[in-house]
């Protein structure tokens, strides 16, 4: 884990990726309770417009130069399977920009706030995403004024209502 985070920090300092934040299941684990996952997801800024296509070639060149084992869309770093994910639009841009500074395994890193983790999981809306949202709603300190603002600004109301209908959360 330490090496993976140090690698992300080095890639950022070299300008290979922009600012980044841990998102996905590991962010759920940090804010909530442990849940099974295979990947450490790292979302990063890249400065391109949403219609432009980000090239991963420089990232893969870095992996190659450091003898890191690439597997599908992930890479093994220090015993941890990591997925570097280019930010996909304004929601993930904001999630990265507003991420919280933390120290994990003695390494400074950043993790998306629980309200943004929930919003990103609403966008995906797979069964496991609903489970993770429930985990956060039950175990994390979720600020509902922030969450409601995100849901409103990023037009996630329909997805939120579908989540409520499917899980009966709050009933």
């Amino acid at each position: 884990m330490r090496e993976a985070l140090e690698t992300a920090n080095e890639m950022q300092s070299l300008g290979i990726i922009g600012a980044y934040a841990v998102i996905g299941s590991v962010a759920v684990i940090y804010w909530g309770t442990p849940t099974d996952t295979g990947d450490l997801d790292i979302a990063f800024l890249h400065g391109l417009e949403s219609h432009e296509i980000f090239s991963m070639s420089e990232i893969y060149r870095y992996f190659d130069e450091h003898d890191l084992k690439v597997e599908d869309f992930t890479v093994w770093i220090g015993g941890v399977k990591v997925q570097f994910v280019p930010s996909t639009g304004p929601l993930s841009d904001e999630a990265i920009a507003k991420a919280q500074d933390v120290v994990w395994f003695d390494v400074k890193t950043r993790v998306a706030l629980p309200e943004y983790v929930i919003a990103l999981k609403l966008v995906a809306s797979r069964t496991k995403d609903y489970t993770h949202i429930l985990n956060l709603l039950s175990n994390a300190q979720v600020d509902f004024s922030i969450l409601n603002g995100i849901i409103s600004r990023f037009e996630l109301k329909d997805k939120w209502n579908r989540f409520l209908g499917a899980t009966l959360w709050g009933q």
Binding site: M1, R2, I29, Y30, G32, T33, P34, T35, D36, T37, G38, D39, G78, G79, V80, K81, V102, W104, F105, S138, N139, A140
Partner: protein
């Protein structure tokens, strides 16, 4: 864990058993909540250790998934 014979899941279940004893359902839920509260307040590094145990279990139960199991050294 099974429900005691004669009970059902539609609101009349009062007791469950883990094979050794019976406890009220409400008490079981309280215990689950207590465990989750404890787990959520664990240090992140400890939560990752629990995750790796989960990964090992998944990998054993479902070898067909080729589920990754992390290895962390300096914890």
């Amino acid at each position: 864990m099974e429900s005691v014979p004669g009970s059902n899941i539609m609101g009349t279940v009062k007791f469950v058993t883990d094979g050794k004893r019976t406890v009220p359902v409400e008490e079981m839920f309280r215990r689950q909540e207590s465990v989750m509260a404890k787990e959520s307040s664990l240090p992140f590094e400890e939560k990752i250790r629990i995750l790796i145990q989960m990964q090992k279990r998944t990998a054993e139960l479902r070898p067909d998934l080729n589920w990754p199991v992390w290895k962390i050294s300096s914890t």
